[in-house]
């Protein structure tokens, strides 16, 4: 029998920097301790790593930094569970374990020359923020950039200054909605779905990427397809329980797909039928 190619132990990685983004959201920039491994590390936006907190466990976390930024590997994390609450306590110099990158990322090769529409819900924004950075760094390669972001409460919007900055850029449209507003909230109050009609892009030459609650993505898909976006240009990032990240432990199965391996990014056509049913 051929030798196994993934024995599975993580690499040790050190926290280079830690940023508090909101009361419960923080960003860790990591560097693999093994210099050769770090130099060889490559990922595509939309892929994820398994981060291990000593003695507690592993969690799948999207990579939000730029793929050509070789200094650190960025992860924006919400402290919601045992592992992520522990990761929130880490400081620069502390060590974690890192396995990755895993899965299939966004179809960046298909985006060249096209309008890019991002539909982001709640904290599902991290996997797609890397796409925003990616497009903005290589602006001439793309058409219009439309960022549609919904949050439950105005306080949930992180990187608020960035949204302000993005909205002032040429050929870039930013539409933000909070179900519940707050004082000095400059954006729309109400459902993000109410903003879809304001998005300006050419559906025939656009690619749309969605990330967030499945209900929101279903409504967004309905809207985008009705506007004439071809199904082949509609993508989404899915979230499921992931423990092994290599399509083995079985938790992330969605129909015949292992979300960790075959996704997390899917074309709409691959998942739309099963998404119509709750419980998969």
């Amino acid at each position: 029998m051929p030798k196994p190619i993934d024995a599975g132990a993580p690499h040790a990685a050190t926290v280079l920097a830690r940023t508090q983004e909101s009361p419960s959201i923080f960003t860790l920039e990591l560097r693999l301790d093994d210099a050769a491994a770090h130099a060889a590390y490559r990922f595509a936006p939309g892929q994820f790593n398994m981060l291990y907190l000593y003695g507690v466990g592993e969690v799948p976390i999207s990579i939000m930094s730029d793929p050509e930024d070789r200094d650190g590997i960025g992860h924006t994390i919400r402290a919601v569970g045992r592992v992520t609450r522990g990761l929130a306590e880490l400081q620069p110099g502390d060590q974690v374990g890192l396995r990755g990158p895993f899965g299939r990322g966004w179809p960046l090769q298909e985006m060249g020359g096209r309008d890019v529409v991002l539909v982001l819900g709640g904290l599902g924004c991290a996997p797609a923020v890397s796409v925003i950075h990616y497009v903005l760094k290589r602006r001439e390669r793309f058409g219009k950039l439309v960022i549609i972001q919904g949050v439950k409460h105005a306080d949930d919007l992180i990187w608020r200054e960035q949204y302000d900055r993005w909205s002032k850029l040429p050929d870039t449209q930013v539409l933000v909605a909070a179900d519940e507003g707050a004082a000095l909230w400059p954006w729309h109050v109400g459902r993000v779905t109410g903003l879809f009609g304001l998005a300006r892009f050419n559906p025939e030459r656009a690619v749309a990427m969605m990330c967030g609650p499945e209900g929101m993505m279903r409504v967004a898909a309905e809207h985008l397809l009705a506007r004439g976006l071809p199904e082949s240009g509609l993508y989404l990032s899915m979230e499921r329980n992931m423990q092994c990240a290599v399509g083995r432990c079985g938790h992330c199965q969605f129909g015949g797909a292992f979300v960790c391996r075959d996704g997390p990014v899917f074309n709409w056509g691959e998942v739309k039928t099963l998404l119509a049913h709750r419980g998969f």
Partner: protein, 395 residues
């Protein structure tokens, strides 16, 4: 039995111990049928003559009882709750460990399983088929599972022809039995006076040679061959086809899912005894001294509450969606993943279900009707109609 009658040997009943002794001599830890808590389980044999005789396993939905075999055979019991799976996909297994020194630096290392070469005596055609199904998962090209591969490589499998299927067996309808056709080292067929023995591998042929058996006579080989069709004809349960993918995936909102959910305890027994279920949780076990931690995997079940857990919500919060996940994975989406069904017809999930849910009966009930359109009582079952994407409530 494979078509090498000229190489088939005949092992007299009173020489059965010689086969086990030979395997022990070769250094194999021999696992054989053993009665434990009223069931046949595979346990290490302490002596070559430790095989039990004269047992049958009477099985029915929610029922397993050992009874006397009037013919006093060695292998008249159809199966027990487990056969090969625990030896290849260990119920719990350390995958890697990490040490932390006084300065807090982490050192990771893979754990290589230390497993002896094992011979399992008395595996069935369904067990071999299930192992091939698990091979497709754990030994997938490009992603070999080191632990599974290590254990799998050290196995010597002695298969037996099923002559006495249980009432829960339906391997004939899945195409996986009752005659072992591949994946074994040696295959036995039990006749009144002894065993027709054939080799299925080089390792098996070497053991067969060393036993110096008389060649099986054409009459003995014929008698052995006839056992398969007879055992197949004796099976009372069946599935309505080998590929139920489209039939099941078009019945995801069938009212039968609610009915079976009302009887299902979500205990996970079916997944624990299923020889193809591969789900496992990954858990961390820190040492009490704080200086190291093990990362292990442990069998998990899609019936458990944590299986579909995500921060903030559970993908499958109710038993209905969990039963549907299990059955549609096993019989439908398994085809997408591995090109065949995940069911080998062993019937264990039927016998070991505490409420006697019968997979073949559930499939028949699902097939007898069509999907129900969504109504006010099933608020989540919004379905797309004629290309339109229906609204999908938040979980």
């Amino acid at each position: 039995m494979p078509s090498q009658p000229d190489q088939a040997g005949f092992l007299p009943l009173d020489q059965m111990h010689a086969l086990v002794a030979r395997l022990m001599q070769l250094g194999y830890q021999c696992l054989g049928p053993t009665v434990e808590n009223g069931a046949i389980v595979m346990r290490e044999m302490r002596a070559p003559d430790a095989l039990p005789r004269g047992l049958q396993a009477e099985q029915a939905p929610g029922r397993y009882r050992l009874t006397q075999d009037p013919l006093n055979r060695y292998f008249a019991w159809a199966n027990g709750p487990q056969a090969i799976k625990p030896q290849t996909f260990a119920p719990t297994e350390s995958l890697w460990r990490v040490a932390r020194d006084a300065a807090g630096a982490l050192q990771f290392e893979a754990v290589v399983p230390d497993v002896p070469a094992q011979a399992i005596i008395g595996v069935r055609a369904c067990d071999l088929a299930a192992m091939a199904v698990q091979d497709a998962h754990f030994l997938r090209e490009g992603r070999y599972d080191a632990h599974y591969a290590e254990r799998r490589e050290r196995l010597f499998l002695v298969a037996v022809q099923c002559a006495e299927p249980a009432a829960t067996c339906f391997c004939a309808s899945t195409g996986d039995g009752p005659t072992p056709t591949a994946g074994y080292d040696l295959a036995l067929a039990e006749l009144a006076e002894g065993f027709v023995v054939e080799a299925g591998s080089g390792k098996g042929a070497a053991v067969l040679d060393a036993l110096n058996l008389a060649a099986a006579t054409p009459q003995q080989i014929d008698a052995a061959r006839q056992q398969g069709p007879v055992a197949a004809a004796a099976q009372t349960r069946s599935l309505p086809g080998r590929n139920l993918r489209d039939a099941l995936m078009s019945r995801l909102e069938h009212p039968r899912w609610d009915e079976v959910a009302a009887r299902c305890l979500a205990c996970g027994n079916c997944t624990a005894v299923c020889p193809t279920c591969f789900c496992h949780a990954e858990v961390d076990e820190p040492a009490l001294n704080g200086q190291s931690s093990e990362h292990a995997r442990i069998w998990d079940s899609c019936f458990g509450e944590s299986h579909g857990h995500l921060h903030g919500f559970n993908v499958r919060p109710d038993i209905k969606s969990r039963y549907r996940q299990w059955l549609t994975h096993k019989l439908a989406t398994w085809h997408d993943q591995f090109g065949r069904s995940g069911c080998v017809g062993c019937g264990r999930c039927i016998a070991w279900c505490p409420t006697g849910i019968d997979l073949t009966e559930e499939v028949a009930a699902l097939m007898s009707g069509t999907d129900q359109p969504s109504d006010a009582t099933s608020k989540h079952s919004t379905r797309p109609a004629s290309g339109q994407v229906a609204a999908y409530p938040r979980p």
